[in-house]
Every structure is written in C-alpha cells, then in structure tokens.
Symmetry: C2
Subunit: 202 residues, 2 copies
C-alpha cells in the first residue's frame, strides 16, 4: 500500500511581502490588495488571477492571505478562497471562523466559483466582499466558474453571510483583462478549461 | 507579519489499515468500502460520516482514499471528497486527474455538498458514483449540504463527468442513521450546523 497520505500547501514567499504595510481600512483598500495579489500571482506563475484575504471585522486586522495555487501546488482545490480560509483556520486554530461570535470577512477579487462558494459557506465567515462578477471573469479569462444556484446570494444570506458585490469592479476586471490577453497569446495555462468553452451558461 | 503560511493535512493511520485487502472489483464493493470508512471515521472522532476513494477506471487500481477530517484537521474544507481528490493529485503529481486521457473515478458514500460538487468538477475525474442522496443525509444527520443548482447532474455530464446515484443506498443510509442517532444523543458535533436547521430547502 503506497498511497499518498499527506497534503501540504505553502504560500509563496512573495505574498507576505506584497501584503506588508498595505492599507486595509476600507472595503476598497482590501479589494485593491486582492487585485494586486491576483495580478502578481499569474505573473509569478503560481496560479490563476485570483486572490483573497480574511479580515477581522472587529479589529480590522488581517487574519490570512491566499492566492490561487493550482499550478504551484498541483492541487485543483487550491483556489484563492480555499487557501485564505484554510490559513485563517490554521491561524485561529478553529475550523469555524465564526466561533464564539467572531465576525471575520472574506475579500476576493472575483465572485467565487461553485467550489469556493461552498467552501465560504462552511468556513464561518459572516461577510463576503467581491470585485468582478463570475460571468465577466468567464468572458475575459475563459475560466469555467461552474453553476451557482440561481439564488446564491440569498442562500448566503439565509446562513448569516452578508454579500457585497462590485467593489472596485473596473480595477478587478482590468486584472482579468490582462490575464485574458496573456491566455490569448498562449502565455499561460487555463487549468480547468477542458471543454469549458462548450458549456452553455444559463 | 506572523500570518500562517502553511496548510498540512494528514490521513489518520487507521484509514489505510481499513482499506488494505478490500475487494474493489465492482461499484458496489467500492461504495461498501466508503461506507465502512465513513462509519469508522465518526467512531474514531476524526470527522463526519463521509468517505471517498478514487479508482483508476482502466486498471481498477485504488488511487487514493479520503475521509472527512474537519474535526481532526481543524479545516472546514477537508471533506472526504477534497481529501481523496487532493491525495490522488499528490499521488499522480498532476492537478488534472484526467490528464493525457486518464479516466479516474470518485466514489463517495453520499451525494457531494456544494463545495465538493465544485471540487469534483475541477478535479479531472470522469465519473462520480455515490451512495445516499443529499436530502436524505440532511434529514438523518442534520448536516447542511448547501444549495446545488437544480440541474447539477446535467452540469456534471456537460463537462464529461458521468453520474451514478443510489449505489448501496440503504447500506449508505444505515451509516447516516447511526450517526444521526449519535447526534441526537449529544455524542458528536455537527460542525456546520450554525442555523442550518433554519434553512428552507427547495
């Protein structure tokens, strides 16, 4: 029996350098940081143009940072939200980021895909703030974001998770446009694109 | 800057012992193994009543094993499917389990939640075989499985992923019934249940 029994995921060194000293007082500043991280991530070759941070709503302190690490880690699950939420749970020592009444918020430069929609739902965060919309990301980058339920915002809210959309939307889209141009020129791998172009979106 | 930068997930030792020598020739035998693993998982206290395996469709060889490790790892993302798919990718060294025409199949003792639905979609598997249905799991265990899109099976199939449901359904439900009884007696933690009882299912 020689099956793998261990999964290890490590944030690249450049991520905390990029975060160091960034102003994080407002929703816009926090999304601006995810935009910068997302852009650097595809330029560094670590993964797709996606980044996320978790912030403590009470103190404004940064709890964790994640970038998309699919190419770097070799694990398809390592989208930015999964990395940020998991590192937040490593840091707090609890699988529930909302334990004991804590209010922690996820910021992400684009609307979560269906996997990360679910990962966010189970993480214990109480607020999700996002930049670009999923349909725009698909159009610009050729990524498949998967089918969210039609009432995905309401489903979040029913579980006590506030949703804020379109924060610094144009700046977020600029990152996806730049990535899309690189894809068109053959400069990067869109790692979930097998047949995705053929999917009819509702 | 003292943020966490590393995520580590380790399969408990008992998992490979349970797998060793198990017959895996048929869909039923494979689901039977996930049922046994799921039952032992909650009895061991490692996580919820969920287990998954990945099998190579061409050779019938076992590629990886996963169990729900939320309680053991402290990470809400570590559902059985995420653990099995990630360990399969560690083993094969590729984020795409369908690379180079490979056909790898995910077996799970219950219908995936919305997070694992997405994780399966991006993993590269070409077939998903499941035991109990999501609505039945929610009724028996009080877990919240989240909102799948109404056409979730068709969305899998559009992406080249065959779906097989209700394999050893009653045996799968027995495990969830036993777990549900333990929950009712206060013997275990249902780890995503904050308000889940209040969610109106469609």
């Amino acid at each position: 029996m020689t099956l793998a029994t261990r999964i290890e995921i490590t944030l690249p060194d450049w991520v905390l350098d990029e975060v160091d000293g960034a102003p994080l007082g407002t929703d816009e500043e926090r999304i601006a940081l995810t935009n910068r991280l997302a852009r650097r991530n595809f330029l560094e070759g670590t993964g797709g143009p996606f980044a996320a941070i978790v912030v403590d709503a009470s103190t404004g302190a940064l709890v964790s940072v994640g970038v998309n690490l699919v190419l770097g880690s070799g694990l398809s699950v390592t989208h930015a939200e999964v990395v940020a939420l998991s590192l937040a749970q490593v840091g707090t020592g609890d699988w529930d980021l909302g334990a004991d009444g804590a209010r922690r918020e996820l910021y992400v430069n684009g609307q979560p895909c269906v996997q990360c929609y679910g990962a966010t739902m189970w993480s214990g965060v109480t607020r999700v703030v996002m930049g670009a919309d999923g349909a725009e990301i698909e159009r610009l980058t050729k990524f498949d974001e998967g089918p969210l339920p039609h009432d995905w915002v309401e489903q979040f809210e029913q579980r006590g998770i506030e949703v804020v959309r379109d924060v610094l939307r144009e700046e977020a889209l600029d990152v996806h446009r730049e990535y899309g141009a690189l894809v068109a020129s053959g400069g990067v791998t869109v790692y979930n694109a097998r047949g995705a172009g053929a999917i009819e979106k509702e």
